[in-house]
C-alpha cells in the first residue's frame, strides 16, 4: 500500500537535493571553470496493488554536468594558439622598440656619423669637427652595442622563462595525473565527481596556455595528455617530467627534453603553441634573425669603414688604422715598432725581444748605431728576424703544418700576417722579454692593421710587461653529441657576401658538407676547406660519423663591436700620397691625384719620379728615389691616358709631355687640408657594401626594421583573430555550461514550490491521519 507520507518525503528529499544543486550553481556563478550542474528527478518504481500500480514518489536520480567535450577541446586549442601569439607579440614588440626607436635606433647614429664625416671633409684641418666625428663614431658603436645588449637580455630572459615555463608545466601535469588517479576510482561514467572533472578541465586549459596538447580520454575516466608529435606527458596517474637543458646544437640556447626511464629526449623542435611554443618560435625565428641582421650590419659598418680608413693618412702623417673592431675575421694581423728613438732605443744599446707564435720563438736583436733612424732600426730588426732558423725570406714557418707568419716592413713598423693552417684560430703572437742592455726603458708600440678582429692585450711592450696579439675567435660550436675530435673554424673573408643565415657543417663518415640552414641548401661538400657565402671554413681534427658543427657567423658582430680610435688627430682623412708636377717641366701633361690601391704596401709613401728619359723618347721611367740605390720600377711607353700603378698607388697621365719632364708621386706630408679619404668615407653612405653590393648600410638596417615589423604585425593580426575565436568558443561554452542566475532563480522558485507543495501533502497526510484518529 503506497504511503502518502513516504511518497511526500521522497519528493522532499529530491527537491532538497535539487535546491542544494541550485545553490551550488549560484555559489559558483563567479567560477569561470565551473560547469553548471543539473539534477535529474525520476519517479520511483511503483508498487502493484492488485491491478493497479501506485506511484512511490520521486527520487534524485543524477546530478549531471552540462558539458560539450568538443567545445572544451576548441577552447584548449585557441588558448594554446593565443598563448603562443601573446608571448611572441610581447617579445617582438620589445625587439621592435629596441631597433626602431627614432631616437635610440641605429639610423640617427649612422646618419650622425656620416654627417660628422662630411663636416670633417668640409674643414679637415680643424679640430672641432674631428672631435665631433670621434663622438659620432662612438655613438654608432654604443647604439649598436646597446641594441645588441638589449637583444641579448631578451635572449637571457627567454631562456630563463623557458625554464620557469617547464617547471610550471611539470606542476600542472603532476596535478592532472593525481586527479586521473582519483577519478579511476569512479569508473562509472556519469557518476564521476563533477567538480573534480571541472578542476581537471581547468588544469588542462592552464596547460594549453603553456603548450599545445592533445588530450585522449580513457575508458577508465582518466585523460592522457600528449605533446609535440605524440610524446605522452600524462598517462593515467603518472606524469613524465620535462627538463630544460642546453641545446646540443647551439649550447648557449635552452632546449626542452622529456625525461623518461630511457633517458632524456630533446623534443624542442616538436613543441608548438602556447607560451612555451611562442617563446621558442620567437627565439629561433625573430630574435636569431634580428641578432644576425644587426650583427651583419655592424660587420658591414666595421669592415667598410676600416677598409677605407686604412687607406688614408692622419694629421701626423701616419697611415690610418682600424676605427672599429668586431668579430669579422681574417688572419692574425698587426704591427709592432713605433717611434723607436723616442721610446728608449738609445744609441749603443742592443735591444732584443721574443716573438712567440705557434710553438716557435724568434728573438730578434739589434744594436742601435749612431745616426740610426727609426727606419734603420726597423730594417735591422727585420734582418735579425730573418736570421732565425725557421724564418726564410721574411716567412716564419709554424709548428702546425701549413701555418706561417709573414713579416714585412711597414713604414718604420714591422707588420705581420698569419697564413693558412687548419686552424689559425687560437694562434696568437706574443711579444715579451724585451731588454735593451741599458736602462731597460725600450718600448715597442703595437697596433692593429687590416682585419678588424685581431686584438692585442696591451698597446705596448716594455721590459716589465708583455703583450699578445689575439687572433679571431672563430670556432664553430661543436654539437654536444659529437663523438669525434674534430674542430671546425671559420673566418669572414668578404662582408659583402655574408648572409644572415646560420650554417651547419655535417660529417657523413666520408665527407663534410656545409648546409645553409635558412633554406636548407647544401653549399659545399668534400674534404674541405670550403669558401661559402663570404666565409672560409677550415676543418681540423677527426670528426666521427654524424658529428656536426654549428656556425652563426654574424650574431656576435654587434655585441663584440668596439672602437679603437679616440685621438682626433688619428683620423686618417687624407690620402697618404700626392702627385706633383715639376715646375721645370716644359711639356704640358697633367698627372691625376694619386689613389691608393694597396694601403699596406710598405713602399707606399716613397718618392717616385715619373721621368721622361731623353735617352728613350716616347717612354718614361718610373723611379723609386727612396731605395738605395734608386730603383727603376718600370719603363713604359707613353700614351695619352696611360696609368701607372706602383707601390700601392695609381695615377694617370694625360696631355703632352716633353723629354726631360718629371712628375712625382710622394708622401703627402703636411697635407692637413687633404680630405680625399674623408670624402671617400662619407661616400660610403650611398654605397652598396652588403648583400653582394646591393644594400647600403642604411638599407640593410631598414630591411631589418621592416622584417621585424612584418613579423610583429602578422603576430598582432593573428593574435586578434585568435582572441575573437577564443572568445566565441568561450561564449559557446558559457552558453552550454555557464550558470544563468535568472535560470537558477526560476529553478529555485520551481523547486521551492514543489517543496512547499510536498510539505503541504505531508500536512494533508497528517490531517488525514488526525481525522482517522478522531473518527476512531
Amino acid at each position: 500500500m503506497p504511503d502518502l507520507l513516504n511518497t511526500s518525503l521522497s519528493g522532499l528529499r529530491a527537491y532538497q537535493g535539487a535546491l542544494t544543486t541550485v545553490s551550488h550553481n549560484i555559489a559558483n556563478v563567479g567560477n569561470e571553470d565551473y560547469t553548471r550542474q543539473r539534477v535529474e528527478i525520476d519517479a520511483r518504481n511503483p508498487i502493484r496493488l492488485g491491478n493497479s500500480f501506485f506511484g512511490q514518489g520521486s527520487e534524485l536520480s543524477a546530478i549531471t554536468r552540462v558539458v560539450d567535450g568538443f567545445v572544451s577541446s576548441n577552447i584548449r586549442g585557441f588558448t594554446s594558439s593565443l598563448g603562443r601569439l601573446e608571448a611572441f607579440d610581447f617579445y617582438a614588440s620589445r625587439v621592435e622598440g629596441v631597433i626602431a626607436d627614432e631616437q635610440t635606433g641605429l639610423m640617427p647614429a649612422l646618419d650622425g656619423f656620416f654627417n660628422a664625416m662630411n663636416d670633417v671633409a668640409n674643414d679637415p684641418s680643424a679640430n672641432a669637427p674631428r672631435i665631433a666625428l670621434i663622438g659620432a663614431i662612438e655613438n654608432v658603436q654604443q647604439r649598436i652595442s646597446t641594441m645588441a645588449t638589449e637583444l641579448e637580455n631578451i635572449e637571457i630572459e627567454i631562456n630563463s622563462r623557458i625554464n620557469s615555463e617547464v617547471s610550471e608545466i611539470n606542476a600542472i601535469t603532476e596535478q592532472i595525473a593525481e586527479i586521473n588517479g582519483v577519478l579511476t576510482n569512479y569508473t562509472d561514467a556519469g557518476s564521476q565527481p563533477s567538480d573534480l572533472l571541472d578542476k581537471r578541465d581547468a588544469l588542462l586549459k592552464q596547460l594549453s596556455e603553456k603548450i599545445t596538447v592533445t588530450v585522449v580520454e580513457q575508458a577508465n575516466g582518466s585523460m592522457n595528455v600528449l605533446v609535440g608529435t605524440g610524446q605522452l606527458l600524462v598517462t593515467n596517474a603518472s606524469a613524465l617530467t620535462l627538463v630544460a637543458q642546453a641545446d646540443e646544437r647551439e649550447s648557449d640556447k635552452t632546449a626542452i627534453a622529456i625525461l623518461s626511464s630511457a633517458g632524456t629526449v630533446n623534443i624542442t623542435q616538436t613543441l608548438t603553441g602556447g607560451e612555451l611554443g611562442g617563446l621558442l618560435d620567437f627565439r629561433d625565428n625573430l630574435l636569431d634573425e634580428t641578432q644576425n641582421r644587426l650583427g651583419r650590419t655592424a660587420i658591414g659598418i666595421s669592415e667598410s669603414v676600416n677598409a677605407l680608413h686604412v687607406q688614408g693618412s692622419d694629421l701626423n702623417g701616419d697611415a690610418g688604422t682600424n676605427i672599429f673592431r668586431t668579430v669579422s675575421t681574417g688572419p692574425l694581423q698587426g704591427q709592432f715598432g713605433g717611434d723607436y728613438l723616442n721610446n728608449g732605443f738609445d744609441v749603443g744599446e742592443t735591444v732584443s725581444f721574443d716573438l712567440q707564435f705557434d710553438g716557435r720563438t724568434v728573438s730578434p736583436s739589434y744594436t742601435i748605431g749612431a745616426g740610426d733612424t727609426n727606419q734603420d732600426i726597423a730594417n735591422g730588426l727585420l734582418a735579425s728576424i730573418n736570421t732565425d732558423a725557421n724564418v726564410t725570406g721574411n716567412v716564419l714557418t709554424g709548428t702546425t703544418p701549413g701555418l706561417t707568419m709573414t713579416f714585412e716592413l711597414y713604414g718604420s713598423n714591422i707588420k705581420f700576417e698569419s697564413v693558412g693552417g687548419p686552424s689559425p684560430v687560437d694562434h696568437n703572437l706574443t711579444i715579451n722579454n724585451i731588454s735593451d742592455g741599458g736602462l731597460n726603458d725600450a718600448v715597442l708600440t703595437l697596433s692593429s692593421l687590416g682585419s678588424s678582429s685581431t686584438r692585442f692585450t696591451s698597446g705596448s711592450v716594455t721590459n716589465a710587461s708583455a703583450a699578445t696579439f689575439i687572433g679571431p675567435i672563430t670556432k664553430a660550436l661543436p654539437n654536444l653529441g659529437n663523438t669525434g675530435t674534430g674542430v671546425v673554424n671559420y673566418s669572414i673573408t668578404d662582408a659583402t657576401a655574408l648572409t644572415v643565415s646560420d650554417y651547419e657543417v655535417r660529417y657523413d663518415g666520408t665527407n663534410h658538407s656545409v648546409v645553409r640552414l635558412s633554406d636548407n641548401t647544401m653549399m659545399a661538400t668534400g674534404a674541405g676547406p670550403f669558401n661559402v657565402d663570404g666565409m672560409d671554413i677550415t676543418l681540423g681534427g677527426a670528426s666521427a660519423l654524424g658529428d656536426s658543427y654549428f656556425i652563426r657567423p654574424t650574431k656576435d658582430g654587434a655585441t663584440d663591436m668596439t672602437t679603437l680610435i679616440t685621438d682626433p688627430a688619428r683620423l686618417a682623412m687624407a690620402t697618404p700620397v700626392r702627385s706633383v708636377v715639376n715646375t721645370g717641366n716644359v711639356g704640358s701633361a697633367e698627372i691625376s691625384q694619386a689613389t691608393v690601391t694597396d694601403p699596406t704596401n710598405g713602399n707606399l709613401t716613397h718618392t717616385v719620379d715619373i721621368f721622361f728619359n731623353p735617352a728613350t723618347p716616347g717612354t718614361f721611367d718610373v723611379i723609386d728615389r727612396d731605395t738605395v740605390p734608386a730603383t727603376v720600377l718600370e719603363s713604359k711607353t707613353y700614351f695619352n691616358g696611360v696609368t701607372v700603378s706602383q707601390n700601392g698607388w695609381q695615377i694617370q697621365l694625360t696631355g703632352k709631355p716633353v723629354v726631360g719632364d718629371i712628375y712625382t708621386v710622394q708622401d703627402n706630408s703636411n697635407a692637413v687640408s687633404d680630405n680625399r679619404n674623408a670624402l671617400a668615407l662619407a661616400g660610403l653612405q650611398v654605397e652598396g657594401v652588403l648583400d653582394g653590393g646591393n644594400s647600403t648600410l642604411a638599407q640593410s638596417y631598414s630591411s631589418l626594421i621592416s622584417q621585424v615589423g612584418v613579423v610583429t604585425q602578422q603576430v598582432k593580426i593573428n593574435r586578434d583573430v585568435d582572441e575573437s575565436l577564443l572568445n566565441s568558443a568561450i561564449e559557446k561554452r558559457e552558453s552550454i555550461s555557464g550558470v544563468n542566475l535568472d535560470e537558477e532563480a526560476a529553478d529555485l522558485i520551481r523547486y521551492q514550490q514543489a517543496y512547499q507543495a510536498l510539505s503541504r501533502v505531508i500536512s494533508v497526510s497528517q490531517e488525514l491521519f488526525d481525522s482517522l484518529i478522531r473518527a476512531v
Partner: protein, 548 residues
C-alpha cells in the same frame, strides 16, 4: 541562444576594454600626429620612413656642405678678383713704362716703385688666410704659408696641388678650393707655347715679336737661338737638338715672317751682326718672378752682368819683359792683389797675369777660367784669357741680377820703369770710368753696369706683358671655373630643395595622421565607450533575484 550571467558580464567588459584600447590608440595618434608609431603598424611604411629620414638627413648635411663650399669659393673669388685688379694695374704700368722715354730713369723708377707695391699686394693675396688662419692657396697644406720669398727676387711655393672637394649632392662633389700652384705658380711663359727674348748685349735695335705656333704638328717644344751672321743674314740654331734648322743662312728682311718648326715670328728694326735672339719652349714661371724681374729692369736699369776685358797689348803698353807688375782687382768687397811678371810675348804676360789672379785667391776652375766669389752670396766674377787678344775677359754672374757692384782696377805698379799702362774695354752694356790705368798716375778705373739699351728694355717689357697676360689667363680660368662651380652649387641647392620638399611630403604621407579624421574618430570612440559603459550598468541591473 542561452546566455550565462558570466557571459553577459564578460561581453560587457570586453566591449568596454576594446573601446578603451582603440580610444587610447587614437589619442596617441592625435597627440603625436603620427600614424606609424611602431614598425608593426605598417612595416613597409616604417622601412620607407627610415630611407626617407636618411635621405632627408643627408640633404640637410648637403646644404651645410654647400654653405661651406660657397663660403670658401666666395673667399677665393674675392682674392682672385683683387689679384686680377692688381695685375690689371701692373699691366697698365708696364704699358706706361713702355711708352716712357728710356732715359727717363726717374719716371721708370716711380713706375717700378708702384709696381713693387702691387707685387707685394699680389703676394699678400696669394697668402690669403681664412677665418681659421688657414692659407687659402697652399693646396692641402693649409697650415703652411703658400708663397715665400728670400727678398732678392726668388719666390717659392710651399704648398701642393691638392684641392678640397665637398659633397653637395648624393652623386655630386664640388671642388671648393684651388691651389696656389694652379693659380699663381704654374703659369706658362711667353705666348703659352714658347717665349722669346733678345740678348742683353745685342748691339742692334732689333726686337723679336711674341710670335705664334702656326703648325702644331711641326712644333717641337725645342729651344732655339737666332744668330745674326751679319745685318742681313741669320741662322736658326736648335739648342735642344744641337743643329741648325732649315735653310742657312736665312736672309733677314725687316717685317718679314720668320718660320721654322711650326713657329712663326718676326724681328723688327735693325739687328746688328752678332746679335742673338732666343726662342724657348714655354716653361712654368710664377707671376711673382715675372713681376719682380720687370720691377728690377725698370727700377735699376744698370743691371745685368758686367762684362769686359783688360790688358791685351802688354808690350805696347810698357810691360817690359821681366818687369814685376802688380795691380788690384776689387769686386763686391773682395780684393785680389795680382802680382805677375811681364813676359817676352803678350801671350806669356797674359798667362802670368792669369796665374797671378789665381795666386791672389781666385779659384781655378780647371777649364782655363778663374772665379772670384763676391761678398754677396751667389755673386761672382769669372776671368778667362782671350786667346785672340791676350786680354783677360771677365764676366760677373749671379746675385740677384742687380749687379751694382763695380769691378775696379787700381794700384798698378811696375817694378821696371814704372811706366806700364793697363788697357781696359767694356763689353755689352757695361761702361767704364776710364779706358786705362797707369802705374805712373796711380789712378784707378772701374767697370759699371750700364743701362740696357732702350730696345732691350722694351723687349723685356713686351715679354713681361706676355707673362702677365698668361698669369691673368690663369687667374681668369680659375675664376671662370669657380663661377661655374658656384652655378653648379646653385643648381644643386635648388635640386636639393626640391628633393627635400618632395621627401617631406612623402614622409608626411607615410607617417602623418589625418588630424581631422583622427579627431572625429576620437569623438566617435568616446561616444561608443560611454554607450558601452552605460549598457553594461543597465544590463547588470537586470536580475530576477531582485524580484524575489
Amino acid at each position: 541562444m542561452r546566455v550565462s550571467t558570466n557571459l553577459i558580464h564578460m561581453q560587457g567588459l570586453d566591449s568596454i576594454l576594446r573601446q578603451q584600447s582603440e580610444l587610447l590608440r587614437t589619442q596617441e595618434e592625435a597627440s603625436t600626429g603620427k600614424r606609424v608609431l611602431m614598425p608593426s603598424d605598417d612595416p613597409s611604411a616604417a622601412s620607407r620612413l627610415v630611407d626617407v629620414d636618411g635621405a632627408l638627413s643627408q640633404l640637410v648635411q648637403f646644404d651645410e656642405n654647400i654653405g661651406y663650399a660657397t663660403q670658401r669659393l666666395s673667399a677665393e673669388e674675392t682674392s682672385l678678383k683683387s689679384s686680377l685688379l692688381v695685375l690689371q694695374r701692373v699691366r697698365e704700368l708696364s704699358i706706361q713704362a713702355a711708352n716712357t722715354a728710356s732715359n727717363d730713369l726717374q719716371n721708370q723708377q716711380v713706375i717700378a716703385s708702384e709696381m713693387k707695391e702691387k707685387l707685394n699686394e699680389l703676394f699678400d693675396y696669394a697668402n690669403t688666410r681664412d677665418e681659421n688662419g688657414d692659407y687659402l692657396f697652399s693646396g692641402s697644406q693649409s697650415k703652411t704659408q703658400a708663397f715665400s720669398t728670400d727678398g732678392i727676387g726668388n719666390y717659392t711655393y710651399n704648398g701642393d696641388q691638392g684641392q678640397l672637394a665637398m659633397r653637395i649632392g648624393s652623386s655630386r662633389n664640388v671642388v671648393a678650393s684651388d691651389s696656389g700652384a694652379d693659380i699663381f705658380q704654374l703659369v706658362r711663359t711667353g705666348n703659352g707655347d714658347f717665349s722669346v727674348d733678345a740678348n742683353r748685349t745685342n748691339l742692334g735695335i732689333g726686337k723679336i715679336s711674341t710670335g705664334s705656333v702656326q703648325d702644331n704638328a711641326a712644333f717641337q717644344q725645342h729651344d732655339y737661338t737666332l744668330r745674326f751672321i751679319d745685318a742681313n743674314n741669320f741662322e736658326v740654331f736648335d739648342d735642344t737638338a744641337g743643329a741648325v734648322v732649315g735653310p742657312t743662312p736665312r736672309a733677314y728682311a725687316e717685317g718679314g715672317m720668320i718660320t721654322f718648326d711650326g713657329i712663326e715670328l718676326e724681328i723688327s728694326s735693325a739687328p746688328a751682326a752678332g746679335d742673338e735672339f732666343t726662342v724657348k719652349a714655354s716653361r712654368y714661371q710664377d707671376v711673382f718672378t715675372t713681376l719682380s724681374d720687370l720691377v728690377r729692369e725698370l727700377d735699376n736699369p744698370g743691371t745685368g752682368d758686367l762684362t769686359g776685358n783688360f790688358g791685351g797689348a802688354y808690350l805696347a803698353n810698357n810691360f817690359a819683359s821681366g818687369d814685376a807688375i802688380g795691380f788690384d782687382i776689387n769686386f763686391d768687397g773682395q780684393t785680389l792683389n795680382v802680382a805677375a811678371t811681364a813676359g817676352a810675348t803678350d801671350a806669356a804676360t797674359a798667362t802670368n797675369i792669369a796665374a797671378g789672379i789665381v795666386a791672389a785667391g781666385a779659384t781655378d776652375n780647371g777649364d782655363g777660367t778663374y772665379t772670384l766669389n763676391g761678398s754677396t752670396p751667389g755673386l761672382s766674377v769669372t776671368f778667362e784669357i782671350n786667346a785672340a787678344t791676350n786680354a783677360i775677359d771677365f764676366r760677373t754672374s749671379g746675385g740677384n741680377g742687380a749687379n751694382t757692384s763695380n769691378l775696379t782696377l787700381s794700384n798698378l805698379t811696375d817694378a821696371g820703369g814704372g811706366d806700364a799702362v793697363l788697357q781696359m774695354s767694356p763689353n755689352g752694356n757695361s761702361v767704364l770710368s776710364s779706358t786705362s790705368i797707369s802705374a805712373a798716375a796711380g789712378d784707378s778705373s772701374f767697370f759699371v753696369a750700364g743701362e740696357p739699351s732702350a730696345t732691350f728694355l722694351s723687349q723685356q717689357i713686351d715679354n713681361a706683358l706676355n707673362n702677365i697676360d698668361r698669369a691673368m689667363d690663369s687667374i681668369l680660368n680659375v675664376q671662370a671655373s669657380v663661377g661655374g662651380r658656384m652655378n653648379t652649387i646653385d643648381s644643386q641647392l635648388a635640386d636639393n630643395e626640391a628633393r627635400s620638399d618632395n621627401l617631406e611630403s612623402v614622409r608626411s604621407d607615410i607617417v602623418n595622421v589625418d588630424i581631422t579624421e583622427a579627431i572625429s574618430r576620437l569623438t566617435y570612440q568616446t561616444t561608443a565607450l560611454q554607450i558601452a559603459q552605460q549598457t553594461f550598468v543597465k544590463v547588470q541591473g537586470l536580475n530576477l533575484f531582485q524580484f524575489l
